[in-house]
Each structure stands twice: as structure tokens, then as C-alpha cells.
């Protein structure tokens, strides 16, 4: 075992300031892979890192490796618009996302790492009668599940977010909104780094720049992986590769109901604080918040075709900007600074798959699509349980691959429309 990382505090900050911040210890080690591990996690995004962290912390499994083809957090974890909420319609989803939201609430303290979790509220805006009915239905469902949620009429929307255009004469007028006050945003990179540091401290090997190129299976039991750093043995392999899940599944002939698509986002030049909440509109596919640096963070809808190219079409960006400018006319002259895409793994029912497979010791955690950032800690928690016990946790039991045969889909598409 290696030595524990030093705790971050105001004292360590002062101490390191005196030495010009040149003596901070690395946040995690960069070891070479061992010959064998008790478990291998493929994919060093937030979900993979939390899986490793909770395997070590909750299940005492510390001889594990996280294998990442690029750098940790370089996938969707570092590309998303960081909306965190738990106001999902169906009981199964509400339970899973609310469990995650509770973990967010204690995360910075637990990790001794500031993930900048900010419970600034998330408002879901209704633009027509159908939206009003759907959102009210969701509001009531949330209350039955003990999830905080409120309904705001048009005047209350304006009061809560004064810069929003509530004129009844626009193409998609604001007719009300749901508000989850405990919802909000967090710093995505910090989540990856904080969990990496925590997992590393318990002995987990984080191996970057190492691509998994094959999965070894013998007599129906997984025996390890092939990678660009050689073969590594393990009887337990967890796949957490988001948009690239089908690439791994195809290596072992597992059929999954996933389609990988580009999802785009963009940020503006930084400005003074103008919006202190998150506004989402499913109908017109736009959502906005403002980062602590002052940039507007704007997210779009998915492009309508399979692609692994990590970029999408300008028409999608244009649609989103149209909607944003109509809702917030004062943004109309802002310049956009950066624009990018991530590849999201879309499931037919817009719910994740956190599941065993017919190959013993091989587990998949995928299908989070456009909305898995909020689930990061909860996903790792239940996936670690699944891998450690070879049985799902009660929270992910409804999210098996088998639901596509049994018909027990958890259809959040209709409910949440855009599931960010």
C-alpha cells in the first residue's frame, strides 16, 4: 500500500503557498498495470471511478484497476452540462436518482475535495397545455416519492428567474414550470478527480492511456482483458464506457439495445452573474445555467443518427440558440466561446442498464445517454454492489438487460422528454 494523500485544508493551502505551490503531491499515482486484479473497471469516467471507489470503500475490494483509453474524465464526464436533479417520473428512476442526489449532498466533505456542488434549483418550463399536464403529473409523482418539487405559475417563474421572457406572445410562451430546489450543478472535472483521488488512496490503480482491445472469456467465465498495455487477468470485469459500450459488447457478442449519438453543448464568453438557477425546456430543447466563471452553459438535443465522431450538426446548435434567445432576449448579442460534442449511449426507454450478463463475471453499466452525470455517485454505488455480490442492489434491480425481453421497460422518454 502506498502512503495516504495529505488532507486538503486551509493550512495545507497556506503551507503550499509559501513554497509557490511547487510541492503539492500528485493527486493520484500513475502505476503500470499488474498481471492480475480482483476486479477491472473499463472506463475512467465518473461512473467507472465511483464504481472503483465504492468497491473499495463499501465492499473492501482494493486490488482493482480502472483502465482508461484517454485521460480520466475525458469522455462525457468532462463534456456534459452538469445538471443534477432527481425529479424523474417513475418510482424506479426516482429511487435511483434520489439516492444519487443524497450522495451529492455530502460529496465534497466525504472526498475532502471541492466538487462545487451548487443546489441552485432546476426549473423545467412548460410551453403548452400538454407540457403543463405532463409536468404536473411528474410533480405529483415526485411528491408521492418524497422528492422535493414545486409547481410555479407564470408569475412565480418570472419572480424566480427575472430575466426569462414570460410574454404570452412568443412562439413558445412560458405557461408555468416545475422547480426542484435541491437540484443544481457541480464541477464535472472535480468529480472525476475527487473520486480518482479517493479510490487511489484506498489502493485502486488508475491506468490512463490504456485502451481495452478485447475481453477474454473461457467456458462462459470472464478471465481478463487485452489492452494496449498487454493482457491483464481478472475474474470480474465491469464495463462503464458510455458511448463506446457497444464496441466492447461486440467484442464478446453481447447484444445491447444501444445507439451512440452526438450530443452537443456550448459555452459563451464570461459575463457577470445573470442567472442563478438552471432553466430547462424539453419542448424546445434548450437548457441554460451560468458557471462560476460566468460563462453561460448551454445544452442542445441529440443529433438524429449514430456517430462516434464526437461532433454534431450546426442545425442542432442553431435550433437551440433560437430557443434560448427567445426565452432570454438579453442573450441575443452574446458571443459563444467554445462548442463540442460527446457520444451518448441512448437506450430505447431512456433508462440505464446496470446489469449482469450471460457471461459470468462480466457486468455492464451503460445506457445513461444524455442524463447520467447526475447519477454518477449512485451509479457507482449500485454497480459496485452488483460486481461485489454478483447480484444487483435493490435500486438497480429494475435496470437489467432482461427488461427488454420481459417488457418491464422504465419509460422515461415520454416522461422527461429530454433526460439531461
Amino acid at each position: 500500500m502506498h502512503k495516504k494523500p495529505k488532507k486538503y485544508s486551509v493550512f495545507s493551502l497556506i503551507r503550499n503557498a509559501v513554497s509557490y505551490h511547487e510541492n503539492w503531491q500528485p493527486v493520484w499515482r500513475s502505476p503500470e498495470p499488474k498481471k492480475e486484479y480482483d476486479a477491472i473497471i473499463i472506463g475512467g469516467g465518473g461512473h467507472g471511478l465511483t464504481t472503483a471507489y465504492y468497491l473499495a470503500k463499501n465492499h473492501g475490494l482494493t486490488n482493482i484497476a480502472v483502465i482508461e483509453k484517454g485521460w480520466i474524465g475525458g469522455g462525457n464526464t468532462g463534456r456534459n452540462t452538469t445538471i443534477i436533479r432527481s425529479n424523474y417520473l417513475w418510482d424506479q428512476s426516482a429511487a435511483l436518482y434520489e439516492h444519487a442526489l443524497k450522495l451529492w449532498e455530502g460529496m465534497s466533505q466525504e472526498l475532502n475535495y471541492n466538487v462545487m456542488f451548487s443546489q441552485r434549483g432546476v426549473m423545467n418550463v412548460a410551453h403548452n397545455l400538454h407540457d403543463v399536464r405532463e409536468l404536473k403529473r411528474r410533480w405529483h409523482a415526485n411528491r408521492l416519492n418524497d422528492i422535493d418539487c414545486e409547481w410555479l405559475n407564470r408569475e412565480q417563474v418570472k419572480e424566480f428567474c427575472p430575466i426569462i421572457n414570460t410574454s404570452p406572445n412568443i412562439r413558445y410562451p412560458v405557461m408555468g414550470a416545475t422547480l426542484q430546489r435541491r437540484a443544481g450543478t457541480a464541477r464535472h472535472d472535480a468529480v472525476a478527480w475527487g473520486y480518482a483521488r479517493g479510490a487511489d488512496a484506498m489502493g485502486v490503480d488508475i491506468i490512463q492511456n490504456c485502451e481495452v482491445t478485447n475481453i477474454n472469456v473461457k467456458n462462459g467465465q470472464v478471465t481478463g482483458i487485452e489492452s494496449t498495455k498487454g493482457s491483464i487477468n481478472s475474474k470480474r470485469v465491469g464495463v462503464v464506457t458510455a458511448g463506446h459500450t457497444s464496441v466492447i459488447a461486440n467484442m464478446v457478442g453481447i447484444r445491447l439495445p444501444l445507439e451512440s449519438r452526438p450530443l452537443q453543448a456550448l459555452v459563451s464568453e464570461p459575463v457577470k452573474p445573470v442567472i442563478d438557477t438552471v432553466v430547462m425546456s424539453n419542448t424546445i430543447h434548450a437548457y441554460v445555467s451560468q458557471s462560476d466563471k460566468g460563462e453561460l452553459v448551454i445544452g442542445a438535443g441529440t443529433d438524429g443518427y449514430t456517430s462516434y465522431s464526437q461532433r454534431g450538426g450546426f442545425n442542432i446548435v442553431e435550433d437551440t440558440i433560437n430557443a434560448v434567445v427567445e426565452l432570454f432576449p438579453l442573450f441575443s448579442r452574446m458571443k459563444m466561446l467554445r462548442h463540442w460534442g460527446g457520444i451518448v449511449d441512448i437506450c430505447p426507454d431512456a433508462s440505464p442498464i446496470v446489469s449482469k450478463t450471460h457471461i459470468k463475471g462480466l457486468y455492464f453499466n451503460c445506457g445513461w445517454g444524455t442524463g447520467g452525470f447526475k447519477a454518477t455517485p449512485g451509479s457507482g454505488w449500485v454497480f459496485a454492489h452488483t460486481i461485489a455480490n454478483d447480484e444487483p442492489h435493490k435500486l438497480n434491480a429494475p435496470f437489467t438487460i432482461n427488461r427488454f425481453s420481459s417488457g418491464e421497460l422504465v419509460d422515461e422518454h415520454g416522461a422527461a422528454a429530454v433526460a439531461h
Binding site: S246, E259, T306, S307, S309, I343, F404
Partner: protein
């Protein structure tokens, strides 16, 4: 964003088209005899290939006709456009060196050398 050459109308922006997903999925001949797993496979399971994929597309904001495309999903390059009902074409060239390196176009994979027709 890329351009698609509709066999009926010529080259147009991708935003004029809708993707109908994986091509050549055959509707089962004997629906009553299918097991639940077979139904799930037909209805939901997809290859979702990184590399050359055969897809159905519709010119939904144009002539509204269907056709097939062979497309490299790692780079979004269109390799061949062919009619509905035709067999999938053989595409010559190199496959990806690893399942997910980085390409020159797009950023999904090591550059491929598939022949375009």
C-alpha cells in the same frame, strides 16, 4: 453536419434527412413462434457499429423516399448510397486499428482508408 446525396434529388444537407437506423433487419417470418428473447432481439438490439455501418435514411424534408447508406460512423464519411432492397455492398479498405483510437477527421478513431464510391 455532412452532406447526403439523395439518389432522387442530389446533394443536400443532412438536416433534410431522417436516419431510420440499422438496415437489413429482417422482420421475423413466424411472429407467433418467437420467444420473448427473439422479440427483444428484433425490436431493440442493435449492432451500433463504430466503423462501417449500413443504415436506412429517408429524405424526410424533400422527396420523402427511402434509401440505404454505408457510412463510417467513426468519421461520418459516406462510403456508398444504394437502393432499398439491395444487398449490403462490400466496402474495401482498412478497418480500425484499435476499437477506438483517434482519427484525422472527426475524433473517434484512427484514420481509415475505406474506398468511397
Amino acid at each position: 453536419m455532412f452532406l447526403i446525396k439523395c439518389p432522387y434529388c442530389g446533394e443536400r444537407e443532412q438536416s433534410e434527412f431522417s436516419c431510420g437506423g440499422e438496415a437489413h433487419i429482417v422482420r421475423p417470418k413466424n411472429p407467433p413462434d418467437l420467444t420473448d428473447d427473439e422479440w427483444a432481439d428484433y425490436l431493440f438490439m442493435r449492432k451500433n457499429i463504430k466503423g462501417v455501418q449500413f443504415e436506412r435514411w429517408n429524405h424526410s424534408n424533400g422527396c420523402r423516399r427511402w434509401f440505404n447508406i454505408a457510412r463510417n460512423t467513426a468519421t461520418d464519411e459516406i462510403l456508398k448510397i444504394y437502393n432499398m432492397g439491395e444487398r449490403p455492398p462490400k466496402i474495401e479498405g482498412n478497418d480500425l486499428k484499435t476499437p477506438s483510437g483517434e482519427p484525422e477527421i472527426g475524433s473517434g478513431n484512427i484514420s481509415t482508408s475505406f474506398k468511397k464510391e
